[in-house]
Symmetry: C2
Subunit: 375 residues, 2 copies
């Protein structure tokens, strides 16, 4: 794995922002109305690429003209955010997306064409400022994490992995009963050493804590990761790097329900609404270890442990059947159709009915040794 | 700080469970119907002790008779859970509360007094098994964490603090841009070294990440902690130990709204519904650093950064005014009444309107140096 240079990357992002700004200045200098060409982020321009198994941005771009009354506000917001980001990088600040919302929020007072005094907020809600941050991500080709924008992080990791973050060397096998909390920008981590055969991604934090307490990662020579339910971008980026750069197979362990399958799907292919992130965040080789719907019957889960599916579970399962990466997998189609037919789901803790060690001493090793995962 | 002996504590809990069981056996041997005397956990038996500033369990106990038809089910559940816990401790398992729910869930088939075949579930929902775990906590005087029961953990810590967890020595000042994820049972941690003048507890994870990235804890010689909103029990226990055993003052930083004040209240005095935990989890000396309602006006937060209070904010503020630890503080009464009058709240990120460094270079140092916190 190449040496990561966090600050270098941040300054490259700054240069990319400055380049966009330079083009605007050049347009003005030529006497043209300034405009930005922003790749379209909506569903209509998100394309499933079966080759790379990735959701990608298509070729469509949107022209955001300053002199177009319908685009002027969004143009102003984009340039305002670019200036906030450039200043933060230059001054060594690491704002959160909410900090940026407040830092840029102010009232513009102006006189309209009829001579009336008018007021306009730069943005009214954080959704607006977040949206232009996304535009700047696709404009410059840098993730906001790479620009040093901070956010909530949920991910934890443990195992024989030694990394460098800033001046610190962190041995993720020496965390006791705790764990290493994955930093906001995993791209800034340098991997110094790894001794693991695979990565096990665990949906539930409490199950992660249990496997850590049992030192599963030591006995089975793996890294264990949790994103606590729906993973954040940092956890997804971390898993992607472990898979892509270290060549470690990635297995995902969730409840047997469409919500768990969707979590797997987010690790593997990203969310459709934020398709443009997938190129950097998705682990397209991620394998689903379980629990599957067929596990409910193969492992003879007692009837009173089985939970009746709710309407929203059925709805979600139908949505999943429409996602290309599920639709193109015979095994996934089988699982989802079986779920829709039986309308039953089960939690991973249900395996504890066979003893607390059943999950770690039988279920996971059996699935791995027989190759009984789904792709 | 005394050397923590995690396993010793777990075995003490086991002995306490065994002692309760021995009494049941003795009752049966004497020909009596077996019964348990469980301290009442409901609001009626939670007492505010102004001396210790703690919510405590009162003296009321409930007699749970096996031969009382109305109590038999709960009696069975309590004894079942005791046996699950004893087995887990003896066999070195670390189940989650949900694992325990499934491990104990089964159908009891029996014939009733009219000769009819009947079936009963040991418990139907996890609420029932969780409730008997709480009963066993108050019966034995051991927290479930001390018994080695696992759960979701949210807390993170960074700063000049060196701890031992199991065989590992963890230096919380060498976590790079990440953090040490607080383990489920902080009682099992042994503090080896600390070099800090106070603990800063931060409501928001993203703000914690920012202060960590700025190395605030290094510049200001403190430890920083986040519980990501409403803190879990492990984070509360960790903060309590830092305050009680290391004598570090604890300051809490939240948004200026009743939700933030309530988070402070949970660190300081616990939740009313789980009052019995407070004796071990509450940091009764915790100070509220900000943001206060008066800060909105003292720091001249721009009008367009101020958020109108919602009905649930007003409701929560009125509830807080009823809590003894708020009601007995003149300054808190003033803040809450001002809030109810103005009906305005503000987020901590609003300070970024004055520049991204305003929070760390001006607001926090100013509050600390002038002693402008609330108790």
């Amino acid at each position: 794995m190449a040496v990561a240079a966090p600050d270098r990357q941040r300054y490259e992002a700054l240069r990319a922002i400055e380049e966009v700004a330079r083009q605007l200045v050049a347009q003005i200098a030529r006497g043209e109305g300034p405009y930005l060409e922003v790749p379209v982020r909506t569903l209509a321009n998100i394309i499933w690429d079966p080759q790379s198994k990735l959701l990608k941005l298509g070729p469509r771009k949107l022209r955001r003209d300053f002199l177009d009354a319908g685009e002027a506000r969004k143009f102003m917001q984009t340039v305002l955010m670019m200036s906030l980001l450039a200043r933060a990088i230059r001054e060594g600040d690491y704002p959160t997306i909410r900090d940026l919302y407040y830092a840029g929020k102010h009232t513009i007072e102006y006189t309209d064409e009829y001579g009336r005094a008018r007021k306009e907020e730069t943005w009214d809600v954080q959704k607006e400022s977040d949206s232009v941050i996304q535009d700047i991500e696709v404009l410059t080709g840098f993730l906001r994490e790479q620009m040093g924008i901070l956010h909530d992080t949920k991910g934890k990791i443990v195992g024989r992995l030694t990394i460098r973050s800033g001046a610190d060397v962190i041995d993720c096998s020496r965390m006791g009963d705790g764990a290493y909390s994955i930093p906001p920008n995993p791209d800034a981590l340098e991997v110094l050493e790894v001794d693991a055969e695979y990565v096990l991604v665990i949906e539930k934090d409490a199950i992660f804590n249990r496997l850590n307490k049992e030192r599963f990662w030591e006995k089975h020579r793996c890294l264990i990761v949790t994103g606590k339910g729906q993973p954040d971008r940092s956890t997804r980026r971390m898993v992607r790097r472990l898979w892509e750069e270290l060549g470690l197979p990635v297995y995902v362990l969730t409840d047997a329900d469409p919500y768990g399958f969707y979590i797997y799907s987010v690790y593997r292919s990203g969310s459709i609404t934020l398709g443009y992130e997938s190129e950097r965040l998705a682990t397209t080789g991620a394998r689903f270890l379980g629990l599957t719907i067929t596990d409910i019957y193969d492992y003879k889960i007692p009837r009173n442990f089985i939970i009746k599916a709710k309407d929203r579970d059925l709805k979600r399962a139908k949505e999943l059947l429409n996602y290309p990466w599920f639709r193109s997998s015979k095994e996934w189609v089988k699982q989802l159709q079986l779920f829709l037919e039986k309308q039953e789901k089960v939690e991973i803790e249900a395996l504890s009915g066979y003893g607390f060690k059943f999950l770690t001493e039988r279920y996971i090793p059996e699935k791995l040794s027989t190759g009984a995962w789904i792709e």
